[in-house]
């Protein structure tokens, strides 16, 4: 009964990603799209929280590749452990997770 959480707000503008991480359960996936991909950059004030979500909460974190490119975030600048997917990978995530929740 895993859930895919879709976040599209920059974590430095709104608290959607923080709320999402507080609710995500072990085995869930979080997909960062649109402005939320800024949260995937390494060394930000949010990095330790994202790392804890991945290592302690067992939540998988993904970021949408085309939205990363559009914002100039290369894979080298990203936090370790965050996986990049394209739109096809986005579709696969919705198949793999029985429920989806958009954190608008």
């Amino acid at each position: 009964m895993a859930m895919l959480h879709i976040v599209n707000k920059s974590p430095f503008e709104r608290n959607a990603l923080k709320s999402c991480l507080a609710h995500a359960l072990a085995g869930d996936a979080v997909l960062l799209i649109e402005d939320a991909v800024i949260g995937a950059v390494s060394g930000t004030s949010l990095a330790s929280e994202l790392q804890a979500a991945m290592s302690e909460q067992a939540v998988s974190i993904y970021a949408l590749g085309p939205d990363l490119s559009a914002r100039g975030v290369s894979e080298q600048r990203m936090l370790d452990g965050i996986q990049v997917v394209d739109y096809a990978g986005f579709v696969d995530l919705t198949v793999a997770n029985e429920k989806t929740q958009s954190w608008l």
């Binding site: 799209i33 394209d86 739109y87 096809a88 579709v91 919705t94 198949v95 989806t100």
Partner: protein, 130 residues
């Protein structure tokens, strides 16, 4: 897998309609079915055929129409949201005593029940908005 997509933003306020369109294309490419796309709130602005963006600009309205034609998609515009924003089909324009309609090919106007039905009939329902 069967999908219903809900689009809550128009082409010029937010990226969400672009994201929904790219998602729909990727899902169809993988052989999935899009049962319905429901346009709500400012999302109804995706369904006008009278927008004339500059030639070098993307035209989401046309891209939705073309995708609908190619794959037989059911693009539904919420009637209450449409009336507020001046989105009309021929019969609705007539009923309101208006002289013109502007709905784009492939779109139809209906009610929220269509969204609920989409959620029931589909394996996955995704919301794209701000």
């Amino acid at each position: 897998m069967k999908y219903t997509l809900m689009v809550n933003e128009g082409p010029y306020q937010h990226q969400s309609s672009d994201t929904a369109l790219q998602f729909a294309r990727a899902a169809l490419d993988k052989g999935h079915e899009i049962f319905r796309v429901f346009f709500y709130h400012d999302g109804v602005n995706n369904g006008t055929r009278l927008a004339v963006p500059p030639k070098d600009d993307r035209m989401l309205q046309k891209e939705w129409s073309e995708l609908a034609e190619k794959h037989g998609l059911d693009l539904v515009i919420c009637i209450a949201a449409a009336q507020r924003r001046g989105l009309m089909d021929a019969s609705e324009a007539k009923r309101q005593g208006l002289t013109a309609d502007n709905i784009a090919p492939g779109f139809r106007i209906s009610g929220l029940g269509q969204l609920i039905e989409g959620g029931i009939e589909s394996d996955r329902t995704l919301v794209f908005g701000d």
